[in-house]
């Protein structure tokens, strides 16, 4: 039986109507608790009018700010049911950010493991669990994005972020088939920079640039860019630390710098979607360029 495009659309729309439409109270409670540790950025008209202190007042402040914005946007937020055509709106504008070389210098703050902690502009050091003392510098607008001691990093936060991130990794091995099981290549990838570069460049279905030599703070290595296959019909697996197997999105780009730091192989990865803007990519390369290493 062959379906028409209209049939498919009708079935998909009907299917999408099923499912959860109510946010559990426990999530709202968690949001309320987290508001204490979530300062607002730069006072604007809403903050000036609604920013408050104290749990209940924070909760009210959040509600008031969101509702005020929603009402002024002409957005109907009642009833709870989702659906119906929302009001057409435009895209928010981005705000200017300083260049990396204008940031204040000083003792780097330690990057806290975990996800979602907003970071101020400045220089950060990876936590002690990482085998190399490494610092990097970011502008405002980034947050922690670390999956473990051997996979630390930062991701953009806020309204102008995307599926991007900078990671510092100790890679143990790569998958045998990115579109297959979780099995790693056997024998495992050798310990050198060239071993890992060759293994990553050979990932089936990936496009790879020609690896070129790179030097980061005096440590030599190789740089290459790999592009994941476009919608291969599977979850795409790539490389693994001692703790976790990484995956990538369809058509995701990864600019990789793989360094030999006194015998320890360090990979710096900038991940971004194919439609990344030139400014976004430039900022990520700037963070990679800001890396300083102290054995």
């Amino acid at each position: 039986m062959s379906r028409t495009e209209r049939d498919t659309t009708r079935v998909v729309r009907s299917w999408l109507e099923e499912g959860v439409t109510v946010l559990p109270d426990r999530v709202l409670d968690a949001v309320e608790e987290s508001l204490h540790a979530t300062p607002q950025r730069r006072g604007g008209w809403l903050a000036r009018h609604f920013m408050t202190r104290g749990t209940n007042r924070l909760r009210f402040g959040f509600a008031a700010a969101v509702v005020a914005a929603a009402i002024l946007a002409g957005l109907s937020v009642l009833p709870r049911d989702v659906g119906g055509p929302p009001t057409p709106t435009a895209t928010p504008t981005s705000t200017a950010t300083p260049t990396l070389d204008t940031l204040p210098t000083g003792t780097p703050a330690s990057l806290v493991l975990g996800e979602g902690q907003t970071l101020d502009a400045g220089t950060y050091a990876l936590t002690e669990g990482f085998p190399v003392n490494l610092t990097f510098t970011i502008r405002d607008g980034w947050e922690t994005c670390s999956a473990g001691e051997h996979e630390q990093g930062v991701c953009p936060s806020g309204p102008d972020s995307g599926s991007r991130g900078i990671s510092f990794l100790i890679i143990e091995n790569v998958v045998a088939d990115p579109c297959g099981s979780d099995a790693m290549v056997e024998p495992p990838v050798g310990p050198s920079v060239d071993d890992l570069v060759a293994a990553i460049a050979d990932l089936e279905g990936f496009e790879s640039s020609t690896p070129v030599e790179v030097t980061v703070d005096g440590y030599s290595g190789m740089q290459l860019e790999v592009i994941a296959p476009f919608n291969p019909g599977c979850d795409i697996r790539t490389w693994a630390t001692a703790d976790r197997l990484n995956g990538v999105s369809s058509n995701e780009h990864n600019l990789l710098r793989i360094l030999d730091v006194a015998g320890t192989r360090v990979m710096i990865a900038a991940a971004y979607p194919p439609d990344v803007t030139a400014d976004e990519r430039s900022e990520m390369v700037g963070i990679m360029d800001s890396v300083r290493i102290d054995e």
Binding site: R3, W15, G19, V27, A63, L75, V82, T87, D235, N251
Partner: protein, 165 residues
């Protein structure tokens, strides 16, 4: 507060449909609400609130997807809190195949499907929410719907056993 709760519901519904996982969707919604609180002062024009809020929740979905990229291969159907659609053509098999087909899509493609076919946003507005060209949205939607249609048709093809009978 009830108004804010209602908007949280809307964001959660979007996250749940993109991620197809209750726990990931709750995390994404929580992060999105906090991000909205945190970054609201940067929003200079209230008229842009809705598109901006959807953008925030979609990006929270990207982040949750990133966290769970060592995906478990097994699939499970979503919990629902609503009666199933009564459309007779929307069979259990269709739903199962759609679930599988949808999970094979990237978050990029899922987001376009949900924003267009669930929220009824026109493609131009989906492009604004996602901050990508409208042509990219059209391409993603075409690819995603082709994949979902293929999933449905794969289910509809007679099996070898069925043909033999």
């Amino acid at each position: 507060m009830s108004l804010a709760v209602a908007f949280g519901d809307r964001l959660h519904a979007v996250a749940h449909r993109i991620l197809r996982d209750t726990h990931l969707a709750e995390d994404a919604t929580q992060h999105a609400l906090l991000a909205i609180w945190r970054d609201l002062p940067q929003l200079r024009e209230p008229a842009r609130f809705e598109a901006w809020a959807y953008r925030v929740v979609v990006r929270a979905c990207y982040a949750e997807g990133r966290k769970s990229r060592a995906w478990a291969p097994n699939l499970r159907l979503l919990e629902t809190d609503e009666p199933m659609a009564s459309d007779a053509t929307h069979s259990v098999h269709d739903r199962d195949q759609l679930e599988r087909g949808f999970r094979r899509l990237s978050v990029d493609h899922r987001a376009v499907v949900v924003l267009h076919h669930y929220l009824d946003l026109p493609l131009s507005q989906v492009a604004q929410v996602l901050d990508v060209p409208e042509g990219t949205v059209r391409s993603r939607l075409h690819y995603a719907m082709r994949g979902l249609r293929a999933a449905l048709e794969a289910d509809a093809r007679p099996t070898a056993q069925g043909v033999a009978q």
